[in-house]
Amino acid sequence: MRPFKFNSASNVRDAVNAVSKNDSAKFIAGGTNLVDLMKEDVERPTELVDVSRIDLRQIRSEGDSIIIGAMAKNTETANHPLVKMNLPLLSQAIFAGASPQIRNMATNGGNLMQRTRCVYFYDTSMPCNKREKGSGCAAKEGLNRMHAIFGWSDECVAVHPSDMCVALAALDAVVRVEGPDGKEGKAREIGFADFHRLPADDPTRDNTLKHGELITAISIPKNRFARNSYYLKVRDRASYAFALVSVAAAAELDGKKINAVRIALGGVAHKPWRASKAESFLKGNEAVAENFEKAAALELEGAKPLGHNEYKVELAKRAIVRALQKAVR
């Protein structure tokens, strides 16, 4: 790989300053995504700033929210009693991702920032607008079985690969970041829906984080979904594969009646896809299969499949229904 400078930061300020100074510097946390991409010559940072030693590993309750530190490992987050008890959906989603070895290294901040798995993005001899603006999108007319059915543009049809983020989207999480402009210890807060973006005319940007901004924590509002939630992931093998389609479903029931419901989809768009049409149909309705099917059909009306991923439309419908059934069971 290309040579790079390596520094370890001991606090947020140092990390932010170091990366802000250099346009081609990057944070590195668990390294499970970034190092791969460097080996493939896709990411070419000239400087790496290790943030994994910064004391941002706590997982705690804070007022009406549960706060998970950006440097906490995926495994410890998923296993943490606060998360298991209050946010089982998040715990399940994390366990559905990657492999134990990777989850042991991967951090929560890094998980939000992981890049697409589009095979063309990984191959520097191929056109890819995300990797090289203006070079074209090889996937749009190419191998796109794994790609988006919602929200894509002619510039990019990739999907966001994270499972954890699908649960976070459903749970209305808030991302806390600190950047060069902010005051020390003062975080900018980004609602999860606004964190990742659709490709539009600039697929090089996966999210709305600015260069030099560091994710410090993720805050998740406490909720009453713990009893009725389910993360369903459909994939090509039983573990260690990215989702064809995944569904984070959570409901608050009053007898049969749905008081509140959250549905987010993974593997279908450039960002975790909140199924708001399905949600508004279901709210106040009865938690029965017939309604789940109607809601799913409504949501998928807006789907626009590509050459090889027509199946995702039907699969997403069925997965929504199955996830809701499991959640309300």
């Binding site: 040579p3 191959d123 190419g142 191998l143 459909v234 090509d236 093998r237």
Partner: protein
Amino acid sequence: MRYIGKEMSRVDGVAKVTGKARYASEYKVNNPAYGYIVQSEIAKGTIKSIDVSKAEKLPGVLKILTHRNSLKVEEQSRQFRALQNDKIVFCGQPIALVIADTFEQARYAANLVSVEYDREQSATDFDNLGRTQTRSSPARGKPAEEFEAAPVKIEAEYSIPIEHHNPMEPHAATAFWEGDKLTIFDKSQGVYGVRGHLARSFGIAAENVNVISLFVGGAFGASLNVNYYPFITALAAKEVGRPVKVNYTRRQMFTGHGYRPYTAQKVSIGAGSDGKLRSIIHEAATNTSSYEDFTEGTTRFGRTLYQCPNYDSPYYLLKSDLPTPTWMRAPGAVSGAFAIESAIDELAYKLDIDPVELRLINYAEKDPDSGKPFSSKELKTCFTRGAKKFGWERRKMEPRSMRDGNWLVGWGTATGTWGAFQAPAGVNIRLNNDGTVLVGSGTTDIGPGTYTVITIIAAEVLGIAPEKITFKLGDTDLPRAPSQGGSLTTASVGSAVYGAAGEVRKKLLSFVDKKDGSPLFGAKFEETELADGNLRLKNDPSKGIRIVDVLKEAQMAYVEVDYQSSPSPERQNYTTMAHGAQFVEVKVEERLGIVKVTKVVEATACGRIINPLTSHSQEMGGVVWGIGMALHEATEIDHRYGKMMTTNLADYHVPVNADVHFIETEFVEEKDEIVNELGIKGMGELCLVGIPAAIANAVFHATGKRVRDLPITPDKLL
């Protein structure tokens, strides 16, 4: 038998789990340099220019080899050779080797090599490639007419994508020169093949090339043919005057050295309403490269399987701008079995006859192709015992008739066969007067447990405890022996050890049979045996001498024997094959199309089992391979670029632990006195052959949906 047939742990197990076993790129050599392969980004065309100036200037870079400065070889075969000219014949073709002080320096420099191409349109889309008919066995009877006339017909098309072996250990070599003597540690299934190839390449005597491959981290056929990298590794070592190591990245494991070809098949079966087969036409087409023809036994599998009087099996090649395919575990057979054994299942449903029953109705007692008897064939017992173990009698014929909550349950079966091959093999045995034994043979052990089974055989035939025996392999300093491929190593090398032990006994006996007062005075060779550390009379074991005493009294430090074994001519009068019956249970998520292989019973008849422990592992490994082939594996190509795209283990799926559930194996032992003295057949490929078809058949039983294009991913079952 004292040792044969008893479970024994791997003799190399401790070395492997403690890291003492060294693999090709791990050998400690003095001051090694590292080579990194630069690959073409296009599939077809010409290199217009290749600029290495930037890369050359980087610190640590020692030399960059390209077609412009590489040694040109006089090649006899049409096999691909690296760095010979400016022609590009496949995407990922090696076009330069960067040699540097460290691996990372070499990899970085490789990024800075810039190439301009004259690009030509490549052709890799199998549906649009021209077909050429190639060698096919002659038709039996009148297949076309009999098919037309048959009252019950099945016609179906099947496809299998390109698959890559992906062993844990990537291709790698470490090479160094001492004068004009070359030593190379190569990851190889056949050290002698590599030696000949390198000697020819450099124009030196074969004796001046030592190829060593003591441990191989899986190969599955990927290292059976000589790859192009040993040559450029050795060349690099020569050029920089230092040892050089070349180690593929995982992505590079998907290029150049070959793969299981794309396979399209059509099966037409004509049968009577009694289930008797009347005609089978099995047509296959596989892809090859533009520069070399590669064919495998795709259509050979079915010909000996059933008692069917009319049979045809035309075979076609599709020339593509991809590298040449190569052998991959159970080559041809597993692909052919997927089509034939799926079609037989389709026929079973058309006739409403139980799939096991249908196979027994058409059971071939003799080889229907040659008319010769089988040297042994316990397939029927495999079916009855396997079915019993599995609980097959509780199966309901109707698809979608069994379920477990949201999961549809399906049971499927298929047959597997593989040849019981044997090849000439040499062995050297040295028996020391301290009772220890050194056995050496230049074969390899790519993981099945050859170190262990040959040790067991040597212990048995020499009558000496396995702990006293050291078996060496994987070195051209040892007697010539076959490559490990085709499931023939145990039969070949085991037979050599058997023969050599006879010679050892002859020599030992010659020291004592003429001595007055010797308990073996006048004893004839046939009357003696080696057992329990003694040379003794078979029918009076009390009359014997300890082997070590024979040597000590003869004042010999050791006896040594070089022995060469060959398959017996008797085999010509028989068809020699191994067989298996495979039973599979799958559960399919009714709405989501997720498939789980929840239970497999694998009943196998493959001659004598030398080591039940490693044999069980082989069978399990074969089943796991079958799961991968049926459900997961596919190397996807972007035909616009002629490039393989799913070239890493995140995108190219093989089964993980969570995909593998209950696997039970059962060996139906055969006493086969024809195949060889020890009655050994092979098993390493056999165990895979029927599995993909059995899984596809079980998926049909569960869902009522026949998936004829592998792999069976959830989207195909919605």
